[in-house]
Amino acid sequence: MLMIDIDACIGCGVCEEICAFDAIHVVDGIAEVNENCTLCGGCVDYCEARALKIEGEEREEKDDLSAWTGIWVYAEYRHGRIAPVTYELLGAGRKLADQKKVPLSAVLLTDKAGDMPAQLISYGADQVYVVEDQALAQFTDEAYGNALEDLARKYQPEVILAGATAIGRSFIPRVATSLKTGLTADCTQLDIQQEDGALLQTRPAFGGNIMATIACLNTRPQMATVRPLVMKANAPDPSRKGEIINCTISPDRLASRVKVRNFVALEGDQINLNEADIVVSGGRGLGSEKGFQLIAELAHQLGGAVAASRAAVDSGWMPYPHQVGQTGKTVSPKVYIACGISGAIQHLVGMQSADTIVAINRDPNAPIFDVATYGVVGDVFEILPKLIDKIKQSRSS
């Protein structure tokens, strides 16, 4: 629980202000904690009087964790290709493995491996564990989860990383729960703790308003899903050598109570929003479905994906898979161009981690300008057509 040292507390009220859960109040000059406290620890570092401490009951003796060694990256496979986030994870994993002086391995679960294991080696894997089985032709949580769980039990990696994609965020929790170990979702930074070599997993919470660094100290493997486009892939080196380890998983473990009957590809814009470096997004200011043709055209010219605010999706101008924000997707592209989006907090939480944000809006006081790198106050219907023309001209000249 949260312990307050009443001798040290100076009643300054900083903790009361910091607490996002309304769990601390200063009463008669001393901080008091109530049942809202979630033990998040957010207040502890802010207390200048060092009067706050999170105290857990003593944990059980650690199991022998030294048997677990090596960094694993789950190589996400779907519809015949490896998801780009896999290469980003191999880039990040390479650094961690070199730092810890352990091998970096990729795990490929597929119906047809082809030259994918060699690809994974060229991007930095020392070893590739391959399970090739018809039962893995379609993604199901049970078959994929059981396969990864069985491999983890057998080969005992210290760390398992996967992309925070629809697939990763669906089946990785299954593996972590079955292994009774910790999992941190949607990480944006990974480091090694100097003292004990633990993986420090940093992730946004409250839609990116605060960052939390999480560690999994007493169980193995340490598992994390990592947000696409945040880590950097290394350039592939076809001359790299690595080991391919073919594994079999028993058929009953590859059985699934969920059967995939059919797949329907996303309509219209074919660029996966989560994987796009450039995102052009439209909001209420576009006024209609027709207004989104400007967004689509600009995205097309820039080679980017189309996104929309909740207001635009609720108005039926764009389908839901394009929605960015609290009840839609979270994206971290290199460039996010917000057109006619006022910037409600629910939208900002889905895009504020983009490297560069361009905002075009008629209202100079729109909150979107608070997070923008570049702001343009103006009418999207005047600016966008001219901008599209200008880019076309520059491209052709």
């Binding site: 202000e17 910091i18 996002a20 859960f21 049942e35 809202n36 979630t38 998040c40 620890g41 957010g42 802010y46 009951e57 779907r78 519809h79 379609q138 199901t140 949580d141 049970e142 994609t165 929790p173 729960t177 170990t181 910790g182 999992l183 941190t184 949607d186 946004p204 919470a205 409250f206 839609g207 308003n209 605060i210 960052m211 939390a212 660094t213 999480i214 999994c216 100290l217 109570r257 059967k259 009957r261 797949f263 329907v264 989560n274 470096d277 450039i278 839901y320 009840t327 839609g328 290199k334 923008a372 790198t373 570049y374 702001g375 343009v376 106050v377 103006g378 001219k386 901008l387 200008k390």
Partner: protein
């Protein structure tokens, strides 16, 4: 059909903001709300009940004041409400949470279908739904955007993927997490509000759910929060000024450089 909907009380994001002066979270006037994704789960459960019969039980793990969101759910069509509340649950990560929820669900007799929101807006982990299904030993489908077919033994649903959607068939009992696209939640009815006011809420403690205390709360959580900090603010904002053509020229030049 017996349906359980798992819901969570979260701080309303529109109230949680960064104080630009102190660079800390300001919680002034933060309201607690039902997690927005959970509203879609509740609505879908109520629609299934209205169409095919059965009962809808809402269940939450949280402090005593989480009772508010249970009553709100009853006013929107849930039949029963269960509050799982004990100081021993505090500090639970997703692994300890799924253990607690699964013990509570077993205690109240299980379900044919368990519905959850895709994720909660405070933690954004999306891990409790899948983890709970594993604890219950039942199959699950995440990010369900539409229920296509319903029978006593199985469902056909569409699950949202990054590149489109899959149509999948799943045997019951099962757990789904749902996305916003699945429906439009209703507002509380007057009759529902009256019922919600009077309904006795079942409260379960750690002892009531026969929990192994070593698996609860902070003690049962393998992940620890080492540090919480506010993200670094982006560099200065540059406004692009001038006539429309001048603005467009400057912007195009920047975009051409990046793209």
């Amino acid at each position: 059909m017996k349906i359980i909907v798992c819901i969570k009380q979260v701080p309303d994001a529109k109230d949680v903001r960064l104080d630009p002066k102190t660079n800390t979270l300001s919680r002034e006037g933060v309201q607690s709300i039902i997690n927005p994704y959970d509203r879609y789960a509740l609505e879908e459960a109520v629609r299934l009940k209205e169409k095919f019969g059965g009962t809808v039980t809402v269940l939450t793990m949280g402090p005593p004041q989480a009772e508010e969101i249970l009553r709100e759910s009853v006013s929107c069509g849930a039949d029963e409400a269960v509050l799982v509340s004990d100081r021993a649950f505090a500090g639970a990560d997703t692994l300890a949470t799924t253990y607690t929820l699964s013990q509570a669900i077993k205690k109240i007799g299980g379900a044919d279908l368990i519905l959850c929101g895709k994720q909660a807006i405070d933690g954004d982990t999306a891990q409790v739904g899948p983890g709970l299904a594993v604890r219950m030993g039942i199959p699950y489908v995440t990010c369900v955007r539409r229920i296509v077919e319903v029978s006593d033994k199985s469902f056909v649903v569409e699950r949202l993927m990054d590149d489109g959607y899959d149509e999948v068939e799943v045997t019951l009992p099962a757990l789904f997490t749902v996305v916003k696209e699945i429906n439009e939640p209703r507002f509380p009815s007057l009759k529902g509000k009256m019922r919600a006011k009077k309904l006795a809420i079942t409260t379960l403690t750690a002892a009531d759910i026969d929990a192994d205390v070593a698996q609860l709360g902070l003690k049962g959580s393998p992940t620890w929060v080492v540090r919480v900090f506010t993200p670094q603010l982006k560099g200065e904002r540059t406004m692009i000024e001038g006539t429309v053509q001048e603005q467009v020229d400057q912007l195009a030049e920047k975009l051409m450089k990046w793209c």
